[in-house]
């Protein structure tokens, strides 16, 4: 895959952005580079949240032998951000304040090709 080949990542954005309750989406590589997004704010700033939480979840999972991570949610101020880890990247979903993280996660995992019962 070339550095400019963002097609698959844009596909991830497209597959989750219409889930009810999702107000923005960012796909960010494990090193923090934003690969694709559909977000009104600053994608670099929003992507940093996804990477931060994703890395923390991975380290904690390792420490307590809990891996693999299915999804993570962080509440910051009035915002709620969901992070789903993929093979090459993290997908950050910005949720409406009335969205159910569990429902969004179920739909997002399905849309990203990770069914509830398999990872």
């Amino acid at each position: 895959m070339t550095p400019t080949d963002t097609g698959p990542f844009q596909g991830m954005v497209d597959s989750v952005k219409t889930i009810p309750g999702v107000t923005g989406t960012v796909v960010v590589a494990h090193d923090g580079v934003v690969i694709a997004h559909e977000i009104s704010g600053n994608p670099e700033k929003e992507g940093a949240v996804a990477v931060y939480v994703g890395h923390a979840a991975a380290r904690i999972g390792q420490s307590l032998s809990l891996s693999p991570l299915r999804w993570a949610v962080v509440g910051i101020g009035q915002e709620t951000v969901m992070v789903i880890e993929q093979r090459d990247c993290y997908v950050g979903l910005f949720l409406d304040e009335r969205a159910s993280p569990a429902m969004v996660a179920a739909r997002a995992l399905s849309a990203l090709g990770q069914s509830e019962g398999s990872t």
Binding site: Y52, R59, L66, E79
Partner: protein, 275 residues
């Protein structure tokens, strides 16, 4: 305090819980013995560091972090001076857990007001309890967050310091005690404020005037709309978290409006021009 953890552990689906201080050290634990304390300490450090990092990145308080793994779920709730970590089954009902956990956090905050969070067993207890954090520190913190937000808008730290220094010169006659607020390394230095000799409300008036002056300069640099958007974005979230301190300092919600207001003639005059 152990009782509080026991109450949480009684919630259906909870396997154990522990409490960390702001450094991430485990200060209380009601976890199954199969979990090594060193592992819990590592988890505590990661969680508190992550919360601190997110606050820096987003200038908002982190409420909680919920990590859902295939075989377990870890919920970390911000207690204000650390975090409460709850390990449960993946299908743990978080809404139900919150009923107990939020109550527990309130009790923890009450307890920490009466006595600082207990130190880890191996630590030597401090002989003198720490002094309460002065409310004025909150205002300095707000100013620092505002500066960081403006840096995010592409205004360099050095330029911001130039603006602040310019404004401090204008305010020198009315509020001379603010003179050394900006240190040589371009940081805000709360230690420079003579907290013992100047009334907190007078100090707050001076800082409010400085923030007002900063807003005035920013409106000229960024345009009114962008400056107001940046300022209000930081102010609203910060005020929601620290309202009590603003009220204590006699400011109430007055600082929200200053971004729209002209400067008093004594503090205005020709504005600074940056290269």
């Amino acid at each position: 305090m152990k009782d509080i953890l026991d109450e949480i552990n009684a919630v259906v689906g909870v396997r154990g819980s522990f409490l960390c201080d702001e450094e991430g050290a485990v200060v209380r634990s009601a976890m199954p013995e199969t979990y090594d304390p060193a592992e819990l300490a590592a988890v505590g450090r990661v969680l508190t560091q992550t919360m601190a990092g997110l606050v820096l990145a987003r200038r908002r308080k982190v409420r909680d972090i919920d990590l859902v793994y295939r075989q377990a779920r870890l919920v970390a709730k911000n207690t204000g001076n650390g975090c409460l970590c709850i390990l449960g089954s993946p299908d743990l009902n978080v809404a139900f857990l919150n009923l107990t956990a939020d109550l527990a956090i309130r009790e923890l905050k009450q307890a920490s007001k009466q006595a600082p969070l207990a130190a880890p067993a191996e630590a030597v207890p401090a002989e003198v309890p720490p002094a309460p954090r002065p409310a004025i520190q909150t205002l300095i913190e707000f100013l620092e967050l505002l500066l960081q937000e403006l840096e995010g808008h592409g205004i360099g730290r050095q330029d911001l310091v130039k603006i602040l220094s310019h404004r401090l010169r204008k305010l020198g006659e009315s509020y001379p005690f603010l003179g050394s607020l900006v240190s040589a390394d371009d940081r805000l230095d709360p230690a420079s404020l003579p907290l013992d000799s100047v009334e907190p409300k007078t100090m707050a008036e001076g800082l409010a005037a400085l923030i007002h002056g900063l807003c005035f300069s920013l409106r000229g640099m960024m345009g009114e709309e962008k400056a107001e958007e940046a300022y209000i974005g930081v102010y609203d979230a910060f005020y929601a978290e620290h309202r009590a301190d603003f009220v204590t300092l006699g400011l109430g919600d007055r600082l929200r409006k200053i971004v729209h207001q002209p400067l008093p003639s004594a503090h205005s005059g020709v504005d600074i021009h940056l290269d």
